[in-house]
Homo-oligomer: 298 residues x 2
């Protein structure tokens, strides 16, 4: 297949549609509101309208929830509940007459980072998707590992401190409650004299790069907790590489340096000695990964 | 192979040698001191002396550390340091002329529990070995998963509370520091009016079964923390079953009931809805698993 592929990242609020070249470069990108209160068939119509003039050989969907791969149907999906059970894969395949893949959105993003940033080389990789939510995906022996109920990889809801801050999920002290966007905003309000506006991971990263001591402290704290979470994962899973994706990960070395310090201080050295830690530049990993997965559909 | 197999569990202090029937029943059992300050070749001689009159078709070793499977050599081993690099598998094979397998001791124990207590049926299983140390092993797609550096499964050293009690490993708030033997002794001294003597997981379990409220509280606390640790693991691996092995796990429902309560309270229901949780009766899972692994050597 020499033509590009379409990758669609379906979140609870927005849906991003990208045309992705064979090597993973994003060539076109459109964002539309998801509107899950409306019929899924209507959503499909809006997508196909966008794709009208595009030329592509396959299409991949990253869906925010657990996915039945064969039907491309959501099995569970806190933010897309009304669409549970709708066979997206079958419907798109019939309408567009190209191979279609469907996958959990975090898995798709991790697959994209794995293929493009790591060249599929390591066999065992943990990926974390870091935004408002902190999700994840596992590559085991070169393939996406989906678990028994299609819900593997929820690394953002591991407890790091049983008496920690309340997480959006209702538990306390989850990794997400220390390293998600909301945690960064909370830390910025606490440590920065004049928190930037709008208060986003990017604006806090910009302030830190400009030398703001409070902003630097935010990333020290966030990176420290993220390091603990990554250490937990690596002790159990002993991967070759850890990939950090998503808006929060774009802070780069501001985030990676404190993570590395926590990993370097782990008493069990073995899993950490040669561990590759990457926060590859670029966005749209969900679209890129979904598109690349669709190229593997037979 | 109709004859039994020998399973040897080599710990830092003691080594247990068992004759294990085809189905996993222990038919004979001998314990000797390990004495890792003496030559490994001398240790091999002491083992072969024990095996003098035994009839068996294969032999498996569970070694406390990371293991090179081909040579049966320790790669790293905090409690067996002087023996790192000694090719146990090759040496036993030459001396005894039977197939020999070598494996990490926790992996061997988890394999034993997997085969005997679960009939190898689920494909994805997490096992925890609970004693002074809390270790673990992963079965992925029906096979032991060893990780990149042979150190996968160190679930006992995941951080559950960054400001928790000091663990033997030097970190704070590891699962082991809440659910290992030392934690149970510490909790018993704190919650029981008259802690039993000797103060062991078994004596604290016996007191709880006899109705001692302090002892019951010990198991509530320990089980609560263990539940948090198991929840963390299941959110990432989404297994079909969790196996609890080792002395601490023999507390049975005293431990399992509070674990179950924590799992039932998890906001993400999917990985927990049909999760099998077992603490199979029996000891010597390390020997049983090593013996059974040796039956698969070609």
């Amino acid at each position: 297949m020499t033509a590009g592929s379409v990758g669609i990242d379906v979140g609870g609020t927005f849906t991003k549609i990208c045309l992705v070249a064979r090597g993973g470069a994003v060539q076109r990108s459109v964002q539309i509101p998801t509107e899950p209160h409306r019929e899924p068939a209507e959503f499909v119509r809006r997508i196909t309208a966008v794709l009208g003039g595009w030329s592509f050989g396959s299409l991949g969907l990253g869906l925010a929830g657990g996915v039945d791969l064969r039907e491309g149907a959501l099995l569970f999906a806190p933010n897309l509940k009304p669409w549970i059970g709708f066979p997206f894969r079958r419907v798109f395949q019939r309408l567009l007459r190209v191979p279609v893949a469907a996958e959990n959105d975090a898995n798709a993003a991790v697959w994209g980072g794995y293929v493009v940033a790591l060249g599929k080389r390591p066999r065992n990789v943990i990926g974390l998707t870091m935004g408002t939510g902190v999700g994840g995906g596992l590559i085991l022996d070169g393939r996406l590992y989906r678990g028994t109920t299609s819900s593997a990889g929820e690394a953002g809801h591991q407890t790091l401190s049983a008496r920690g801050p309340l997480c959006r999920c209702g538990k306390k002290g989850c990794l997400e409650s220390y390293a998600g966007t909301l945690a960064i905003q909370r830390a910025a309000r606490r440590f920065m004299r004049r928190p930037p506006r709008p208060l986003t991971p990017k604006s806090v990263a910009d302030a830190a790069k400009a030398g703001d001591p409070g902003a630097r402290r935010v990333w020290e704290e966030v990176g420290g907790w993220l390091g603990l979470g990554i250490a937990n994962l690596c002790l159990v899973y002993d991967p070759e590489a850890v990939l950090l994706l998503g808006g929060v990960a774009r802070a780069g070395s501001l985030l990676l340096d404190p993570v590395r310090r926590v990993l370097d201080a782990q008493p069990f050295r073995q899993p950490f000695k040669n561990l590759i830690l990457r926060a590859p530049a670029g966005r749209d990993w969900g679209c890129v990964g979904a598109a690349l997965l669709s190229r593997e559909v037979r």
